[in-house]
């Protein structure tokens, strides 16, 4: 059987490709912002004296890190409506990605905080700063500088894993591929092109964020 690859049939869908890319990147941006914010709060909670808070955060991290993303997403999108919590597909996808990234971000930021020398907090105390200010002004910036590459890696992983949100009919890049191949039956070519787009996005994202990091943490990063 002679098979000819035919990419020409894909050109007419350029607009859809762009829309799908925008949805994928938009979801990733929202999840990154919210996920890292929760990550900071969670990592802070792990340093408090409240044992219940610490255990709550630990349980959350373990539950998320030891279950597949797709199951978390199905639970949110299909499971939660039956207890009266109804979300659109896009909201459910954003929530699932946020919850997932947050668990990894807590672990990463916690490690970053632990790597900051104890003398830094002590110096802050000796200057009369309140604990909250020590955390925000002294510990957090150094922790971020320590683990910035790991956070960039996790954000990229979240972007790649978001391909699964097409399964609850969010019109992301992968969903665009599903749609096109159902029309032209050129499954392989369509998925190949989309895979290459993801590859370019992932490589560019790492480059750009690493570049931004060099500017942000100039002189701090080790």
């Amino acid at each position: 059987m002679a098979f000819q690859l035919d990419f020409g049939a894909l050109l007419q869908y350029l607009g859809l490709f762009l829309e799908g890319t925008a949805v994928t990147l938009g979801l990733t941006a929202v999840a990154s912002f919210l996920g890292i914010s929760i990550g900071i709060a969670g990592a802070a909670a792990l340093r408090t004296r409240c044992a219940a808070c610490r255990n709550l955060v630990k349980t959350y991290v373990e539950l998320i890190r030891n279950t597949p993303f797709i199951v978390q997403m199905f639970f949110i999108f299909f499971g939660l409506p039956s207890i009266g919590f109804r979300l659109t597909a896009l909201q459910a996808a954003a929530l699932a990605m946020t919850i997932n990234l947050a668990a990894y971000a807590i672990e990463i930021i916690r490690a970053g905080l632990e790597a900051v020398p104890a003398g830094q907090a002590e110096a802050g105390r000796s200057m009369g700063l309140r604990p909250a200010l020590i955390f925000i002004l002294i510990l957090l910036p150094q922790a971020f500088a320590n683990v910035y590459p790991a956070l960039v890696g996790q954000i990229t992983i979240t972007m790649l894993e978001s391909a699964v949100v097409s399964q609850i009919a969010v019109v992301d890049l992968t969903h665009v591929a599903d749609f096109i191949q159902s029309r032209n039956f050129r499954s392989f070519e369509t998925y190949l092109v989309i895979t290459i787009i993801y590859l370019v996005l992932a490589v560019m994202m790492r480059r750009l964020l690493a570049h931004a990091g060099r500017g942000l943490f100039a002189g701090r990063a080790r």
Partner: protein, 214 residues
């Protein structure tokens, strides 16, 4: 026909071995391919080493879901008809091999240069150097992250459901369509995955701690 909670739980528990089987195949196959790739990656041939690097990069920078689609739709174009089961096994094997090669290369890199030089001065050839001196030392370091990766692999097999392979998630979808109890079903599925993955996560952490104490 009425489904009791026990019927649902029983059907899910019956599907769990298929998730484990797919994980085991991908891990064994990926380990084998990964070992071969490792030998090339850290070998003397620069060109071949770069090819393996590119292979690893491709798998780590594209979504697993699309890798699955490419294998599932790509192999038939080469004249090989595959079932969802075969496509998932092949794809996850390649996926695992890329990650394992990368993890193991990290362990080999951590071996001091002197070990290579020392074994070379004894007149050992590249393969003997690896087999007798480098790999035995690197293995100890490689075990904790390898177990950690196994957790990632078990979770990754969930995507085989999208191709239609009847593992845990696919079974859960079918049960949901029959019973309209998604909250219970996906909650149970999450618990089953947790029961598989959490012991592995703990094991990996313990091994790492023990290694650090030595």
């Amino acid at each position: 026909m009425e489904f009791t909670t026990w019927d649902i739980a029983r059907n899910l528990l019956l599907a769990a071995p298929l998730t484990l089987l797919l994980s085991a195949i991908a891990f064994a196959g990926g380990g084998l391919v990964g070992l071969l790739l490792l030998v090339v990656r850290i070998g003397p041939c620069k060109w071949a080493s770069n090819c393996v690097m590119l292979y690893v990069e491709l798998f780590q920078s594209t979504p697993l879901l699309l890798q699955l689609f490419l294998v599932y739709f790509g192999l038939p174009m080469l004249g090989i008809e595959v079932s969802a089961w075969v496509a998932a096994s092949v794809c996850l094997t390649l996926y695992a091999s890329a990650y394992l090669t990368d993890i193991w290369r990290g362990s080999v890199d951590a071996i001091p240069r002197g070990q290579w030089d020392g074994s070379a001065s004894l007149g050992l050839h590249y393969i003997s150097q690896l087999r007798l001196v480098i790999l035995p030392q690197a293995t100890r370091m490689a075990i904790p992250p390898t177990v950690g990766f196994l957790v990632q692999l078990v979770k990754s097999t969930a995507l085989a459901s999208i191709l239609g392979y009847h593992e845990l998630v696919r079974t859960a979808q079918i049960l949901t369509n029959a019973t309209f109890q998604p909250f219970l079903i996906f909650g149970l599925v999450a618990l089953i995955y947790f029961a598989i993955c959490y012991p592995l996560t703990s094991l990996s952490r313990d091994l790492e701690r023990r290694l650090a104490q030595k």
